[in-house]
């Protein structure tokens, strides 16, 4: 699949944003000054909104994006849009009340948390539902999206909130998230297109004759389908990026958290861990798309 920058940015930032909203909604402690609450809410909500906005750059007609809210009964993308908006509205009210009264409405918070979780889940289901991309088509995909949202959200929240010794939790969540991703990768390695039961033989129905191989593409140049779904990356390139993702997205945050935790440095330094993780996640997400093999590539010479 073509790794579109807007979608990569969207899934990473909105994940982190909704992860943070989830935590705040569940009562993640924050020093109760209105300014601080505003600031914290801005980070969470802002990331979520920025992600959503970024995702509209992926659209051919962003001005019609509102139409995407209509098909919640069948479409995960539609559900995601609704969930995101409802969550942001509830979260906004929750924060407003919090800022004005200094007290947190737990019920509203819970609603926002459920909304945030739902949003991340629906985002992941956009990919996980696709039979055409067997590497995505797995229950592990929502797990990974959720785990990364929670992990990156925790790091952000820990940096601006007042949770006591959040680093340990942070390390645990980051490790858990990458653990989930490890399983995902392991499965993806076994769930390539070739493993899925789809092949040029099934794609053409000609397997009963013999082995099927593309001789000639329909057109000599590229087209929408080949650009969008027949993306290929080199193995070396992928391995390097995976290292980068693990280093920046996993190892570095853990080390930073450990140092902060052990040194007793202000938890604001956890922001470094958060940023590092987000950068690592951009690489992880880039690979999520670039390594994904779409069934249509079987018609374009893929085996």
């Amino acid at each position: 699949m073509h790794p579109a920058v807007s979608v990569i940015f969207f899934t990473v930032t909105s994940g982190a944003g909704f992860g943070m909203i989830f935590l705040l909604g569940l009562g993640f402690p924050v020093d109760a000054s209105a300014l601080r609450v505003f600031f914290v809410a801005l980070v969470g909500g802002g990331l979520a909104v920025a992600g959503l906005l970024a995702s509209t750059f992926h659209l051919g007609h962003p001005e019609r994006a509102w139409r995407a809210l209509s098909q919640w009964r069948s479409s995960w993308l539609s559900r995601e849009g609704i969930a995101a908006i409802v969550t942001l509205v509830v979260f906004g009210i929750y924060v407003l009340i919090w800022m004005m009264t200094g007290s947190r409405q737990h019920f509203l918070g819970l609603l926002a948390a459920i909304g945030a979780a739902t949003t991340v889940f629906t985002t992941s289901m956009i990919y996980a539902q696709l039979k055409t991309v067997p590497q995505w088509n797995s229950r592990l995909t929502p797990l990974v999206y959720g785990a990364f949202a929670l992990g990156s959200g925790w790091l952000l929240a820990s940096a601006v909130g007042t949770h006591e010794a959040p680093e340990l939790w942070g390390i645990a969540l980051v490790v858990l998230a990458w653990g989930a991703k490890w399983f995902w990768w392991a499965r993806a390695g076994r769930a390539r297109l070739a493993d899925s039961g789809s092949s040029p033989e099934t794609a053409t129905g000609l397997g009963f004759i013999g082995k099927v191989r593309l001789l000639e593409r329909p057109h000599t140049g590229e087209n929408y389908l080949t650009r969008e779904m027949v993306h290929r990356i080199g193995r070396k390139h992928a391995a390097r990026l995976r290292m980068l993702a693990l280093l920046l997205g996993g190892a570095a945050p853990v080390v930073i958290l450990a140092i902060v935790g052990l040194s007793g440095a202000p938890s604001l330094f956890n922001l470094l861990a958060a940023v590092s993780m987000l950068i690592g996640l951009l690489a992880e997400r880039w690979l999520f798309f670039a390594e994904a093999e779409h069934a249509v590539s079987l018609y374009y010479g893929h085996r």
Binding site: L215, E216, P218, H219, T220, G221
Partner: protein
């Protein structure tokens, strides 16, 4: 606007439909052009049209993009830069025509031979030929010489017609179909439609082609033959059919020269000629008595074998015995040809059996009485339902003429020519040599030629030679010892001969629709050099070049004066019976093009321009006694020109009231009647004349009545071709003129009066190790020559081409799909991208035809993939073979017809050590585009949608 609420346009049936004829290839299908707001909106096939019956191919459907092509020329151009640069200035038509008249007038006044007028994919050859004849130059032809002249000429000499325009398989009734050497071309839609019909009936299709794409992909059996060996395969089938007695003896006696007696007098000048009576009628031996009598004797039962004494005491043998002797020889046994052809002996034996089974066990009978030319009444029509089709694949070899003859002979031996289920002639064919003109030359200043340029020599006496009996009269050396039966001329030799000033230099090269600087020449690179070469004085060796084309082709850049033509939707044309007809076996058809839109540029239809030039030059037939033009334009000519009294370019709606077909006075409303009828005329042949046209009285009468022939024409199929024997006799020094010494051996060996096979000349002296592979092109179904690349839709399908390499060759050379390879022949080397393929003859490389383009041509971006990654095999092919032991360079052509031997090419391949550049070679420089920049985005139909 969305997918459910479409309202406007063709869908509502409110568009105006104008019916004309397609020109996106040579098929000439009928098209419905949907017009809205004065613009072309949609083109579909015309359901009523005899050729395509409603269907339309990819090219035809992309006609809109051709019509709106950014490569269209806009105004006459005069060269300002060096040839090849593409630098021009726009001039007015008056200036252009004055200049052309001045150049041409001087030539005509002094030496008309100094004009070489060649038209490429011209569909108005009867008119352009007539013009050239009036001008008086002997140097005229169209592109047949590098296309499929072998097929056409072999067919005319053998039986009065060949495939495509001459005839077609009986798709409805055949029980076995075999197609040789056809990728998608000639003729494109009718073959596809025919294959569809065969598939519906479950009739077996056998494809013979080194490459298994297109028609060969759907063939039920594929014979991946080695290029240049088709003749061997066919003669092995003949061997098998004869060995097993599966030939139609009755048919041979009735319709062929099988019983004719051939003189056996080794030392005499008549050896190998037919024994004839005093009137010249061939003799046969009466079977019972052995007496030699005229073949015209009613009720004669002739012998097919034996040795008989002629009245003059010489001995003679029937053709059939010579034929049996030749083909029963072990050299044509399947096991003897298997290795060379690449087809297993068992397969050849089995297919011969299948042919025999279909022909003789599944005969088709139509209860239709008919009378033959001898007056014998037949109660029914009995058919041998085996049909064949072949085209350029077997033609474009130096042994192509004999191979095509062999295929025609095979059909005749099983009795399948123009019978139910076999091959069927299309009106006006059959038209044997007896009904064909001889070639004409003899140019004199200010004088028209005595007759048409192109014709069919009956023997060496009809060659066009200077008084020395050796030097060619024509610039292309057609009808010379180089290529005696070159009935379509030899366009591919014109530029190299003119450049070499052999046999003489010319002054003006005048061409139409012939991309000679590119894909229409063998070895494009050297042709470009010849066109730009200068002599010691700094003048171009070919001094003046006039070129007419509708588009900014490669050739435009190499001309001095450009006369911009219209697109096919903006012009008048006639698809004439005098020319290259479009009839169907059961109907006499012709058609027109008419301007369904007016040009929006300062361009003129070439034929109208030619008439204008003719009038300015005061050519006979183009001006009246007062020197005034007779024809205002081509449309006027189409209606009013008469080749013979009552016979004009169009056969339909003749006579003052438009009631006559074929013969009749010009009808001023003729074009109107054509337009009302959908752009074509179709007149059905009576049922009694549907088959056996070569010997059918009803057909002959009907053809005479409709002006297709002036009187009865005897058409005895020539299994043994006497004119070839005459050339052999000349080479043996027994009759005059005698060919020059160096031609004699070749004529003796190749001009066998019975179809034969010899290895392609390119193999002669070739080291198999140095060039072990064959390389050929296939015509893509979605692209016609170079025209398609300017088409925004078609160029998406074929924007570049790969060289397909057999899997085993890939493995032995370490090649993989996408690699760059160097391919070399004896005359050059190219750099190409390769792709692996297994469904191909193991020693044959191939690519799509004419995809590569010169940078800057066709209004394409200079970095267009056509120019950077596309390529032509032409750069590897020379019009001359490498020097032989005698120091002479022979033409890379068939020695009989001069057909360019494109498919004889032998090459070697190796992986390019440098895989980094990503570009094909050679890069033929760039030309400046004389037409404006092309738009970036195309949204055809947007305007209409809004």
């Amino acid at each position: 606007m969305n997918q459910t609420s479409r309202a406007s346009g063709a869908a509502d049936g409110k568009t105006e439909i104008r019916k004309t004829t397609c020109y996106m290839c040579a098929c000439r299908c009928g098209i419905n052009v949907h017009m809205a707001g004065g613009k072309v909106r949609y083109i579909e096939g015309n359901r009523d049209h005899p050729i395509n019956k409603g269907v339309l191919c990819a090219k035809g459907s992309a006609g809109i993009m051709q019509h709106y092509s950014p490569a269209r020329l806009k105004k006459p151009l005069l060269r300002t830069g060096e040839r090849g640069s593409g630098e021009f200035k726009e001039i007015e038509w008056d200036e252009a025509l004055d200049l052309a008249t001045q150049w041409l007038g001087e030539v005509r006044r002094t030496d008309p031979r100094k004009l070489a007028f060649f038209t490429g994919r011209d569909q108005s050859q009867s008119m352009t030929g007539w013009w050239a004849q009036a001008f008086g130059t002997p140097n005229y032809a169209a592109h047949g010489g590098f296309c499929s002249v072998n097929m056409a000429t072999a067919g005319i000499y053998t039986m009065g017609g060949a495939f495509w325009e001459f005839g077609a398989p009986d798709w409805e009734k055949t029980e076995l179909f075999m197609i040789f050497g056809v990728a998608e071309d000639h003729d494109s839609n009718p073959i596809k439609m025919g294959l569809g019909k065969l598939k519906q009936r479950g009739v077996k299709v056998i494809g013979v082609n080194p490459v298994r794409t297109g028609y060969n992909a759907i063939a039920d059996e594929w014979l991946g033959i080695t290029p240049g060996t088709d003749g061997l395969l066919i003669l092995a089938l003949v061997h098998e059919l004869m060995r097993t007695g599966k030939i139609d003896v009755d048919y041979l006696i009735r319709y062929t020269n099988a019983p004719w007696l051939v003189i056996d007098d080794p030392d005499g000048a008549g050896h190998g000629l037919f024994a004839r009576d005093d009137e010249g009628t061939p003799l046969v031996a009466e079977r019972a008595s052995g007496k030699a009598v005229t073949s015209a004797t009613p009720g004669i039962k002739p012998a097919l074998k034996g040795r008989f004494e002629l009245p003059d005491g010489r001995k003679a043998t029937p053709v059939f015995e010579l034929l049996a002797e030749k083909y029963l020889d072990e050299q044509y046994a399947p096991s003897a040809v298997a290795e060379r052809t690449g087809i297993a002996a068992e397969t050849i034996i089995r297919i011969a059996g299948e042919i025999a089974e279909a022909a003789f066990e599944r005969e088709v009978i139509i209860e239709q009485p008919w009378t033959d030319m001898k007056g014998e009444r037949h109660e029914r029509m009995i058919g041998r339902p085996v049909a064949f089709h072949a085209m350029r694949g077997i033609s474009a070899h130096s042994n192509g003429f004999q191979t095509c003859r062999a295929l025609h002979m095979l059909q005749i031996l099983v009795g399948s020519i123009d019978c139910p289920g076999g091959f069927r002639f299309k009106p006006p064919y059959p038209r044997p040599v007896a009904g064909q003109p001889r070639p004409h030359g003899g140019a004199c200043a200010d004088t028209a030629l005595a007759g048409p340029h192109l014709g069919y020599p009956r023997g060496p006496e009809d060659l066009l030679l200077e008084a020395d009996g050796e030097t060619a009269e024509r610039i292309d050396k057609a009808f010379s010892w180089d290529a005696p039966l070159s009935a379509h001329g030899m366009m591919h030799m014109v530029i190299s001969n003119a450049h070499a000033r052999d046999p003489y230099g010319i002054d003006v090269l005048f061409m139409y629709m012939a991309n000679m600087a590119w894909n229409s020449s063998m070895n494009s690179s050297s042709v470009m050099d010849m066109l730009t070469d200068k002599d010691a004085n700094g003048d171009y060796v070919i001094p003046k070049i006039i070129y007419s084309d509708a588009y900014s082709s490669e050739m435009v850049a190499f001309a001095d004066l450009i006369l911009p033509d219209t697109t096919y939707l903006e012009r008048h044309d006639c698809i004439s019976l005098l020319d290259r007809p479009i009839s169907e076996p059961e109907a006499l058809c012709d058609s027109i093009r008419w301007p369904v839109v007016e040009p929006d540029r300062d361009v003129r239809g070439f034929q109208s321009v030619l008439l204008d030039l003719g009038a300015r030059l005061k050519l006979p037939g183009m001006v009246d006694e007062d020197g005034k033009p007779i024809y205002t334009d081509y449309a006027d000519y189409i209606v009013n020109h008469q080749r013979k009294p009552g016979i004009g370019p169009l056969s339909g709606w003749r006579g003052e009231d438009g009631e006559k077909t074929g013969r009749g006075k010009p009808n001023p409303d003729q074009l109107k009647r054509y337009i009302e009828n959908g752009g074509f005329s179709q007149v059905h042949v009576p049922e009694e004349a549907h088959y056996f046209k070569h010997a059918n009285k009803a057909w002959s009468d009907w053809a005479i009545e409709h002006g297709l022939q002036d009187g009865p024409v005897e058409n005895i199929f020539q299994l043994y071709l006497e004119p070839l024997r005459k050339f052999q006799l000349a080479a043996e020094g027994k009759i005059k003129p005698v060919p020059p010494e160096h031609h004699r051996e070749r004529i003796k060996s190749c001009f066998d009066p019975l179809p034969t096979w010899y290895p392609p000349f390119a193999d002669d002296g070739l080291s198999e190790d140095a060039h072990p592979l064959h390389a050929i092109t296939q015509r893509p179904a979605a692209m016609y020559h170079s025209w398609g690349s300017q088409n925004a839709w078609l160029r998406q399908i074929h924007g570049e081409n790969a060289l397909y390499v057999p899997g085993d060759v890939c493995d032995s050379h370490g090649l993989e799909t996408g690699d760059w390879a160097l391919v070399s022949s004896q005359s050059g080397e190219i750099r190409v991208k390769i792709a692996r393929m297994d469904a191909v003859n193991g020693s044959t490389l191939w690519t799509w035809n004419a995809i590569g383009k010169r940078s800057g041509a066709w209004a394409l971006d200079k970095d267009a993939p056509e120019a950077t990654r596309g390529f032509l095999l032409n750069h590897l092919i020379d019009e001359l073979l490498p020097p032989k032991g005698d120091g002479r360079r022979w033409a890379n052509s068939d020695p009989i017809t001069g057909q360019a031997a494109w498919f004889d090419l032998r090459v070697a391949i190796r992986k390019d050590p440098d895989q980094s550049t990503g570009k094909s070679l050679p890069h033929a420089g760039a030309q400046k585009s004389p037409v404006g920049p092309a738009p970036d985005t195309v949204r055809f139909g947007k305007e209409a949608a809004e």
